[in-house]
Amino acid sequence: MTCFSGPAWAVYKREVRAYITSPVAYVFMVVFLVLTAFLTFSVSNFYENNQADLRSFFMWHPWVYLILVPAAAMRLWAEERRTGTIELLLTLPITLNQAILGKFFAAWTFLAAALALTFPIVITTCYLGAPDGGAIVGGYLGSLLLSGAYLAVGMLTSAMTRNQVISFVLSVVIGFFLLIAGWPPVTGMLAHWAPLWLVDGVAAFSFMAHFDSLQRGVLDLRDLAYFASVIVFMLFTAHVVLENRRAA
């Protein structure tokens, strides 16, 4: 990780500070916590299920992230372009990769902090019964990777425009596609005309299947590799987009 040295670390620290000093961060955290709690307890009837597990908690994360992560990511590059600070940043002795990684990990740290603040539900579950520890760890790991994947999408759309609203909308649309790609109505629609390998291929793109198995506590290397490759691919594309916009 030679990339993540001096300059990238400086960008990381700056971005983390930018999050925690802005009111957006607190709005984000409060909405995230209230929304997940509401969905878990009131919609999924956590107590009435009489099961000491966190399925009814984690099952909502893909949907909550779908809206909230693009909101947290949209400023990353769009703001730099709008205010012109991108010119300052990219004329400092820093590579584009270092800048991208610094920003990405800063935003991911912020999302991880929001996720960590859901810890009371773990305490609640442990108090009520004897939950499967592996499933909880897997659930949190899956949720973290999922947020990273959404974030990488948001980073890409933020690099594409100077308008944060456009970045948000594009990011939600791409995220939504990745979310529902494996859903039966979508695969069913494809199955009418597409060959099976294509249907399976599209379904394998879905966040859901990979997130589901992690949530059950199954740490499959393929799921980890899936999320890692989505993140790497999106960040790489963001790099290409930023490079091209400079050259144009």
Binding site: A10, R14, A18, T95
Partner: protein
């Protein structure tokens, strides 16, 4: 110390910079003069490594900005147009950030930052968020960022734009102070500024250099001996031709 070699920039069908070449030695303040849209900013953005040139390159203290970008960037201090800064940060946080990206740590970082703050007279506002500062202070924060690492080459895009006459005086005095040890290139469309601080002037129009000389040499080109008249004939003369074509 700064050598610009046949820089070209094309934005799609627009050929914005067409073969700009010049050399600046240490101790020289070079004024980049030209109407808006002449290609001043684009040229500076290529020299500082923000925009990749379509052709040509620049050697910054011997480092090729195209081939050895990072090394060249380390030699440059750059104040972009309108001095973009992270508004939510305080002056101190911002300068520390720039120092860290430039590789200074701990005590060395703090010493650099303090020196830049003193040099740019920012002591009073060091703990203030930049977005709450007046334009003059904001511009000086941008300048502090540019000179923090004591660069060999200082490039400033319209450093006095939008400042009041007093603030302009302060910034010009600072530039003059630094002039001896550095290569300084600044763009402007204020003609009096050229007279006040520049040892040499390059007039650029439609992406090409149309004049290169001392302010006195340039003035001698016009019967009136006024820089304004020279500027008009050099840059306005062919505008109708462009509109027809």
């Amino acid at each position: 110390m700064l050598e610009v070699r046949d820089l070209h920039k094309r934005f799609g069908p627009i050929h914005a910079v067409r073969g700009v070449s010049f050399k600046v030695e240490r101790g020289e303040v070079l004024g980049f003069l030209g109407p808006n849209g002449a290609g001043k900013s684009t040229t500076m953005r290529m020299i500082t490594g923000f925009l990749p040139p379509s052709a040509g390159t620049a050697l910054v203290n011997g480092h090729d900005i195209v081939g050895d970008t990072l090394a060249a960037k380390r030699e440059i201090g750059y104040l972009p147009e309108n001095s973009p800064v992270y508004g939510e940060m305080t002056v101190l946080q911002f300068l520390r950030f720039v120092a860290e990206v430039r590789g200074f740590k701990g005590v060395a970082r703090d010493a650099r930052v303090e020196h830049a703050i003193t040099q740019c007279h920012l002591e009073q506002v060091r703990l203030q968020a930049i977005e709450t500062l007046s334009k003059g202070y904001k511009q000086r924060t941008g300048l502090a960022q540019a000179i923090l690492h004591d660069p060999a080459v200082l490039i400033m895009d319209e450093p006095t734009d939008g400042l009041d006459p007093n603030q302009k005086q302060v910034v010009r005095a600072m530039i003059r102070e630094m002039a001896l040890q550095k290569v300084i290139v600044l763009s402007t469309h204020i003609l009096e500024e050229v007279d006040a601080i520049c040892a040499r002037v390059i007039v650029i129009a439609h992406g090409q250099i149309v004049a290169n000389g001392t302010p006195a040499e340039l003035k001698a080109r016009s019967p009136s001996g006024r820089l304004e008249d020279v500027f008009h004939t050099l840059t306005l003369g062919d505008e109708p031709v462009r509109k027809v074509g």
